[in-house]
Symmetry: C2
Subunit: 361 residues, 2 copies
Amino acid sequence: MKHRNFKTVPKMIFGRGAFDQLDDVLMVERKSADDYVVFLVDEIHKDKPLAGRIPQQDGDMLIWLDVTDEPKTKYVDALTEQVQAYAKAHKNGKDPVSVIGLGGGSSLDIGKAVALLLNNPGGAASYQGWDLIKNPAVHHVGIPTISGTGAEASRTTVLTGPDKKLGMNSDYTVFDQIIMDPDLIAGVPKNQWFYTGMDCYIHNVEALEGTYINEFARAFGEKSMALCHQVFLEDHPESDEKLMMASYMGGQSIAYSQVGACHALSYGLSYVLGYHHGIGNCIAFNVLEDFYPEGVATFRKMVAKHNIDLPKNIMKDVTEAQMEKMIRTSQGLAPLWDNVYGPSWKEKVTPELLRGLFSRM
Amino acid sequence: MKHRNFKTVPKMIFGRGAFDQLDDVLMVERKSADDYVVFLVDEIHKDKPLAGRIPQQDGDMLIWLDVTDEPKTKYVDALTEQVQAYAKAHKNGKDPVSVIGLGGGSSLDIGKAVALLLNNPGGAASYQGWDLIKNPAVHHVGIPTISGTGAEASRTTVLTGPDKKLGMNSDYTVFDQIIMDPDLIAGVPKNQWFYTGMDCYIHNVEALEGTYINEFARAFGEKSMALCHQVFLEDHPESDEKLMMASYMGGQSIAYSQVGACHALSYGLSYVLGYHHGIGNCIAFNVLEDFYPEGVATFRKMVAKHNIDLPKNIMKDVTEAQMEKMIRTSQGLAPLWDNVYGPSWKEKVTPELLRGLFSRM
């Protein structure tokens, strides 16, 4: 049996105010006068003080990202072409020396994807899968402004393509540098803070109760879980710091574990009905008390404590065709179900089971 | 205030049997027919089954390490010259494509040091300190066969030089790859297992109670501590796995924390009386109940549970000159005392205080 050779983010800065060290980080990459960097920033920050703190120099490129929808392969292809056109017109075709993703999970994933696609031709859809990327990415930096997805730590960039929602999973996907500045996640709107944080919490439940886990993943997952409890049940004074660490450690734990039933259902919700990942997870998790009794009970306490109105009856206008597509999408996620049930999952994950779960959402 | 840009091991394999994946790891580095690697292996493994599993190929170099004493600058210089002489005679001066350190903390540190010194001329003593290394190291791999030092995760290689015991601290020091195979630490002799594990435990106490810590280091330190409790108080069935993770996470926590009073005293013991780091820490920690009341109480439970005979009255034959040298060595470790007391440490860490503590050992 072979164990994964886990590629992790090799450099990180953690601490309040660390965002201001981005300039120093980029100075190391800027080696000649016409070197430039590309900032890919969630447009939510456009008129905020953070925008004025971006260390943009003459010749750098800044693109405001539209993350209304989760990242599509089409969108990251268009962004890559935009960078390439800029390079051709202004820089004799020279690639940027660094690509910075600044924002939530979508912005981080877009940063990873563009850095990869600049060096790997043919469009994002052709790389959805595992280890299909051939060439190293351009140097890329991730800076979360909301925590919970684990995107800052992971080797994937989740994309919705023409025929599937699936990441570009590769060692080259991993950021070269992350900056974890708890100041940046202070003041995120309550619902988004909660749904994104729950991505981490739910992932920990699925990983810790799954069949794939080993003691490396367990150590990270258990600590991430304990931090989630402090943040979402105890109002800990260092909640920003702790949530940021929970997200990072949750991401690390995925090295030797896997998500489970909730993510399998949630992928179906996102792909067919367009729900964002965080809220989709919460909707799905809330019907999984048979799978994760303790995890769901604690989750409901967190929902109640923070007065979150989970969407209900979301299936009432869903067509039979949509339902079948959701079931198919969910059922197709073999490793996730394998992590839940072990190799016998195929007998257990029937369309009836999935229809029953979706119908209760 | 600037936060450290923490360089971490970028690739790791964790799991029982992972040692056998070393061959695959090295195959990636072996790009041409005359490429070779250097194995630096604790000689304790010489006649053990592990020796037969080292993936040595024609042209590779294997050196059995004498770690009777902790690594000296003189010794790593001699090893480096030995590799260079081999390179000159057999490989037209070509450096190895990888250096593998296999063993305990000393062997790992020697692996790091030789990989650095092959690319940085002038001898190890000239690089003892912080960020003095100019050039990246040769690719280097760390494989612990005993756990607790955190050497697998750290950016230092602790060396005893002509006038100090001090590491070569540098981003280049960090391993390119580690392999954490819990099989390798099964069957370590009891005392050594305990003393080395306590290095991790004690370091966690010092870090968690210190002034330097932030929430990144706290998350890693607390989990490492919880794992130490499972291993040393609860005889957990997955003790090998958990101790290995405790060591790794303890090493990670040092990114944003510092050791304290125990390591300061223990450095004095090692430098003047030659005690190995692990046992030196235990001897020193046992007199620090005023500094770390809870930590020392738990430590004594662990000592009792495992029937460890801590050396006592070790100062009875020490000369006044030796005592003064220990005091001077210990007092000189400014960042450690700063971590204990904050900036006012100079008023508090008097020769009398240190003499009192050493005298009780």
